[in-house]
């Protein structure tokens, strides 16, 4: 990887990935609600266009025009399904499902059409579609705009799921997703959009299905998903002061999952804690726990622990919302429980 000189925010890194891919491949188009903004208004100053509800896709309509950056009506089943149909017939759409919580409105098009058409057609078709969607609590957006739910997508055969935690990972993974010939859902944590990090210039990919060791350690493996990587890093700092060395694995992709990196780490540390902002039942956390309980059983010196959101919707009031999100304190307490 090239030496990174400049800092970009997570949102800017995503924007750059989209821009570079749209320049490279004319078949890449963007679709979604307000991804450009102001569609159909005459005498509209294009620079005033929203570029997405949180500005992530700003500037793209200016470069690529409204034939390639398409604002859609609020009609998720219609336009996500149209993106599936376009992908199956030769385009490479990147469609935005504004908040992951909206997936109920278009789930058929994702899991029963897009995810399955290659298989049901005996491998004679494919759906090279990227769905970008926002996840995560912490903004006070409440019950229908704050979930994670990547577990539901990960569960479905035919879908690949990507959960970047840093700007550099976001750019590389989104690039890989766009170049991937399968249906990939990229879950962007909205609380990370303004987080800065070093991001290499130019085109690069981070392969799907490769985890990243965000922090090396020897006493406990923390597998942390998306924004929880940052919670885990904070916890690890505090634990180091107590002489506990935590290794943090960022899976980066949930489907396909880099099992080997996780198992190798557990073989080294003998303890596993999984931090997941999603609800606990049938989650990515329980999935990884089952995997390690099976294939890493003899390496474990302690039960596998899960630090997750509770089995509730996301509450509104700030103290309630903060209680909901796994905190560094809860991670520390959980690790201390299984040490020694």
């Amino acid at each position: 990887m090239a030496v990174a000189i400049r800092q970009l925010t997570y949102a800017q890194a995503i924007n750059e990935a989209l821009k570079l891919e749209m320049r490279r491949d004319p078949r890449v188009i963007l679709m979604g609600e307000d991804v450009a903004g102001g569609a159909g208004i005459t005498n509209f100053e294009q620079d005033d266009a929203w570029g997405g509800v949180l500005g992530v896709t700003k500037g793209l309509v200016q470069e690529f025009g409204r034939e390639r950056v398409l604002d859609t009506p609020i009609t998720e089943a219609g336009f996500v399904g149209a993106a599936v149909g376009a992908a199956a017939t030769g385009l490479r759409p990147v469609v935005e499902l504004m908040f992951v919580d909206f997936f109920g409105v278009c789930w058929d098009m994702i899991f029963d059409q897009g995810a399955k058409l290659r298989y049901m057609f005996g491998g004679k078709a494919s759906c090279p579609l990227v769905i970008r969607t926002m996840i995560g609590a912490g903004m006070g957006a409440a019950g229908q705009h704050s979930g994670c739910h990547y577990s539901v997508f990960t569960h479905m055969p035919g879908i690949k799921t990507v959960v970047p935690s840093t700007p550099a990972d976001a750019k590389g993974l989104l690039t890989a997703a766009i170049r991937d010939d399968d249906l990939v859902v990229v879950f962007e944590n909205k609380m990370l959009y303004n987080v800065s990090g070093a991001v290499p210039e130019g085109e690069y990919i981070i392969p799907l299905g490769k985890a990243d060791i965000k922090r090396e350690g020897s006493d406990v493996t923390i597998v942390a998903i998306s924004r929880m990587v940052h919670q885990a890093l904070e916890a690890a700092e505090a634990l180091a002061a107590d002489g506990i060395s935590a290794e943090i694995i960022d899976p980066r992709t949930l489907s396909p999952l880099d099992e080997q990196t996780i198992l190798q780490s557990v073989a080294k540390t003998h303890r596993l804690v999984i931090v997941d902002e999603d609800n606990p039942r049938c989650s990515a956390a329980t999935d990884i726990a089952a995997l390690v309980a099976d294939k890493g059983f003899t390496d474990l010196d302690a039960p596998i622990k899960l630090v997750t959101a509770p089995h509730t919707p996301v509450p509104f009031s700030p103290p309630l919302e903060q209680f909901y999100i796994p905190s560094p304190e809860r991670i520390i307490a959980t690790i201390q429980e299984i040490m020694g």
Binding site: R27, I29, E67, L70, T72, P73, T75, A77, G78, F79, V80, G81, A82, A83, V84, G85, A86, A87, A88, T89, G90, L91, D108, M109, D112, Q113, L117, R118, Y119, M120, F121, G122, G123, K124, A125, S126, P128, P157, G158, K160, D180, D181, D182, P207, L208, G209, K210, P256
Partner: protein
């Protein structure tokens, strides 16, 4: 075979395309009748939904399309497959779950597809095809070579949210999509007079800013003419339209359906208006073909259907481990 016409619709159809359309209709009828009897004999796993009676719609529409155009279909999809040129032997093999099937045995009756022929699949979800066809229309607009997409759907699907979403989207983006309603009067066991808030599906088109037309779906010439105009309009870049074909299915919603919700008299009255017999009569009365010629086509089709079943029954089943392949293009 593709039928290309330079304007003028059905009245400029020559003998060859007319005989081709007749043969297509007969192929669908015989395919469905054979599939029904083999299903009743326990030879076909799962479900089958037979298109017999509705042939004029698939054939009348698809006669205006080429392999470069797209169609989406639904659970009652055999007719659309045949009309779009999917290989009959591969279709039978798919019904029987053979490796040589159109989908290598992975899809079955409700998911037969041939994407290279623009047949984007039969679909088990009512209303599933609308957005897919609309997306194919988006690709067609992007490609700028005059392609169109056709969405076949039933009266039941006209109430699904995806109908409304897709017509709206195709309208605001002026996509080259033709939405073809096959109104056979029943959504499973529920009649249209109950389930629809309007009498004719075509009435809904005006609400989405596109022309809506109702034609007699038992008359292949009427269907052909309407589809011809709608396809020409779409190719010219003038946007989407909706054609409603009033038709009738001879068999139940699925095979095994006891069809208690329709009367024998109603079925008999529709058998009297059989679309294939009507086309035959027209061809003979206008001296376009003799009854001997048409009988020869019928016989030829019967032989081909027979051969397809022989072929498919002898074809091997896939290995059990093949269940694991074709989920993804690649999966590290």
């Amino acid at each position: 075979m593709t039928i290309r016409q330079n304007g003028g619709g059905a009245q400029t159809l020559d003998r060859a395309p007319l005989l081709y359309m007749y043969e297509q209709m007969v192929t669908i009828r015989q395919f469905e009748e054979r599939a029904g009897s083999e299903f009743a004999a326990g030879k076909v796993p799962g479900f089958v939904h037979l298109y017999a009676g509705e042939e004029a719609v698939a054939v009348g529409v698809c006669a205006n399309l080429t392999d470069d155009d797209f169609i989406t279909s639904h659970h009652r999809g055999h007719g659309h497959c045949i009309a779009k040129g999917v290989d009959v032997r591969a279709m039978v093999a798919e019904l029987l779950g053979r490796e040589a099937g159109a989908c290598r045995g992975k899809g079955g009756s409700m998911h037969i597809a041939d994407v290279h022929k623009g047949m984007l699949g039969a679909n088990g979800i009512v209303g599933g095809g609308f957005p897919l066809a609309t997306g194919a229309g988006l690709t067609a607009r992007y490609n700028k070579r005059g392609q169109v997409a056709v969405c076949f759907f039933g009266d039941g699907a006209a109430n699904q949210g995806t109908f409304h979403e897709s017509l709206n989207l195709a309208s605001i983006w002026k996509l080259p999509v033709i939405y073809v309603a096959e109104n056979n009067g029943y959504a499973e066991s529920t009649p249209v007079t109950y389930h629809m808030s309007c009498r004719d599906i075509s009435e809904r088109a005006a609400g989405y800013g596109m022309p809506g037309v109702t034609v007699d779906g038992l008359d292949v010439f009427a269907v052909y003419e309407a589809a011809h105009e709608a396809v020409a309009r779409a190719r010219r870049g003038e946007g989407p339209s909706l054609i409603e074909c009033k038709t009738y299915r001879y068999f139940g919603h699925f095979e095994g359906d006891t069809v208690t919700y329709r009367t024998k008299e109603e079925l008999a009255s529709y058998r009297d208006r059989d679309p294939i017999k009507a086309m035959r009569r027209t061809l003979e009365q206008r001296s376009i073909a003799s009854s001997g010629e048409l009988d020869a086509i019928d016989k030829d089709v019967a032989q081909r259907i027979d051969d397809a079943w022989t072929y498919a029954e002898a074809a091997p089943l896939p290995a059990p481990e093949d269940a694991l392949t074709d989920v993804y293009v690649s999966y590290s």
